[in-house]
Amino acid sequence: MNLLGASNDAARRSIVTPEGVQLTMHVGDMGRRLAAFWIDFLIISAIVALVALLWRSMAGGHWQVDPHPYVAGSYLVRMLYFTYFELKWRGQTPGKRRMGLRVTDRTGGPLMPQAVWVRHLLREIEFLLPFSLIALSLSPAFDLVSPFEAQRNVFAAIWMFALGAVPFFQRDRLRIGDLAAGTWVIEDVREKLNVDLAGEAGGGEFVFSEAQLAIYGIFELQVLEKVLRDEAEEVLRGIAERVCRKIGWNGRSVTDPHRFLLDFYKAQRRHLEANVLMGKGKRDKHG
């Protein structure tokens, strides 16, 4: 079972926009989400520390020995932080922005404030309350909790951590908060447009027959596209040799693998696109 759930086909979900376009998105994997949460947690801790310092200076330089105010005060800061950012930045906090994640409504609707509120309210019982309860009951310096209360707190903490583990086993990586709010966390995408390989002028040195073009399918074409954009000379040479062997190339010898593969790409793409228009698109070399 893939607990962390890295981005792959299993994480793909889709919604249909009002224009009738299907948008696919990938559910964010837990590793990234934990990292985003950690970043946000650090920022919030810094804010709380700042507020505590301010409070201390206003209260005449005395540190509050009682830990309860910190617990409750940091809750307020957390709630305000997440509410502000997730509403202002359309579902992103600084941590999520850094990790390329976004909170959205599961049905594709707008992200409502009440969804944000209930998400964060329930986050408290998943992680932060058990954390604080344990801290309160185990800290020896604070003689504030009776043994009975300490026991109760530990039981409560176990229960709450169990709730917090839900997203690791849930298909859509939904926390309890996401379930109640009708949201999920998806990967934010940002692609740039690369130059069109088939649009490049020139070429035509290598000509391929129909039989040779019928071997590979769409999948190989797109791998070839990726290779042509990214890979170095030596890799291209190796691939060119493999392609020659596979299609049974017996024309001119290949001195410039890049040129060869580019021509092959163009021809293959024209061939396959024509087939696709006819409804005969070939998925990959196995048919």
Partner: protein, 330 residues
């Protein structure tokens, strides 16, 4: 061969400029915020979005250029969330939204609210009866700061006198304690009460009962000295907003608990989502009421001198807030 253009290339060349225009607008919105765009640019946005969406459909069917498809998908994705994601421009708008939605949410969760009130009052009765029978229980049941009001024995005479209804500690102390909210242990209670709903509502019930019993125990002490009515008047005047806030949080908790404890026909997930939204509003409203209640107490305490007048002013301010927040037609 070189001269014959691929259909997909021609398609791309024709539309590329509008895609780049949309990309630029969306990027600027994302980094600077949509307020920075001019009116013409804002009007262009939906138009360009629809163009990109249709390009995406076309590209998916005729083009095998993976770069184009991926780019358009990401572009439409980003523009979609820009256009269809609701945005609240400021905290004031958010507050206005909350104030408008709260009465509706309360009306929808009437049952849960009555349940919370009932549990609370029953627990208060229970606490009162127990303390009346066995005065020793007072120390187990009453909250910390009230314990200090009453002397070592619940029937000590020096700390309670009939004319002094305000907490005996004195203004400065009360002000400090009140101003420290939410830096106060009871601040955790409303959150757990609300969020505990997902734990089958058990924490909600338990904490409501704790709160009720505390009030009942304290009330019993006052009743035992024939100050009961005065105490009730004081408690209602000063505490009603905070209690209401707690009850709202508890109704949020019960709203969340309902689809979990009694799975409805349509499936738990959908019901949980619907209840979750109203729970979200209720809990923020409840927390807000608690804060307002504490703030009212604080302000009245430092501005009004006469104890009886304090109670009166508190009462009217609280009633004012409740009437405003739960008016019939917002």
């Amino acid at each position: 061969m070189a001269g014959v253009e691929l259909k997909s290339c021609a398609f791309r060349q024709a539309r590329e400029n509008s895609w780049h225009e949309l990309d630029e607008l969306v990027s600027r919105c994302e980094s600077e915020g949509c307020e920075r765009l001019t009116t013409e640019e804002l009007l262009q946005l939906p138009h360009l979005y629809r163009g990109a969406a249709s390009s995406l459909s076309v590209a998916r069917s005729i083009s095998l250029d993976r770069s184009v498809t991926l780019f358009l998908e990401s572009l439409v994705h980003r523009a979609y969330f820009l256009l269809y994601g609701a945005r609240l421009r400021s905290l004031r708008e958010l507050a206005g939204y909350l104030v408008a939605e709260l009465p509706i949410a309360v009306r929808q969760s009437r049952r849960e609210l009555w349940l919370s009130v009932a549990i609370f009052l029953l627990a208060a009765l229970l606490g009162g009866m127990v303390t009346t029978r066995e005065p020793g229980y007072f120390f187990a049941l009453a909250p910390d700061d009230v314990r200090g009001v009453v002397a070592s024995s619940p029937f000590g005479t020096e700390s309670l006198s009939s004319g002094d209804l305000w907490p005996r500690h004195g203004s400065a102390d009360v002000v400090r304690r009140v101003a420290e909210f939410p830096f106060n242990e009871t601040a955790i209670t409303p959150f757990v009460v609300a969020a505990g709903g997902v734990a089958f509502g058990l924490p909600t019930v338990v904490l409501l009962m704790y709160a009720g019993v505390e009030v009942g125990a304290v009330a019993a002490v006052f009743f035992s000295r024939d100050l009961g009515v005065a105490f009730l008047l004081w408690a209602i005047a000063t505490g009603v907003l905070q209690w209401f806030g707690l009850w709202l949080c508890a109704s949020a908790g019960f709203s969340l608990a309902e689809p979990i404890v009694f799975p409805p026909v349509g499936g738990r997930t959908r019901a949980l989502r619907m209840k979750g939204w109203s729970a979200g509003i209720l809990v923020v409203g409840g927390l807000g009421l608690i804060l307002i209640g504490r703030a009212t107490l604080w302000i009245v305490d430092i501005t009004v001198r006469d104890p009886a007048l304090k109670v009166l002013v508190c009462f009217f301010i609280s009633m004012g807030w409740l009437l405003f927040l739960f008016r019939r037609n917002p």
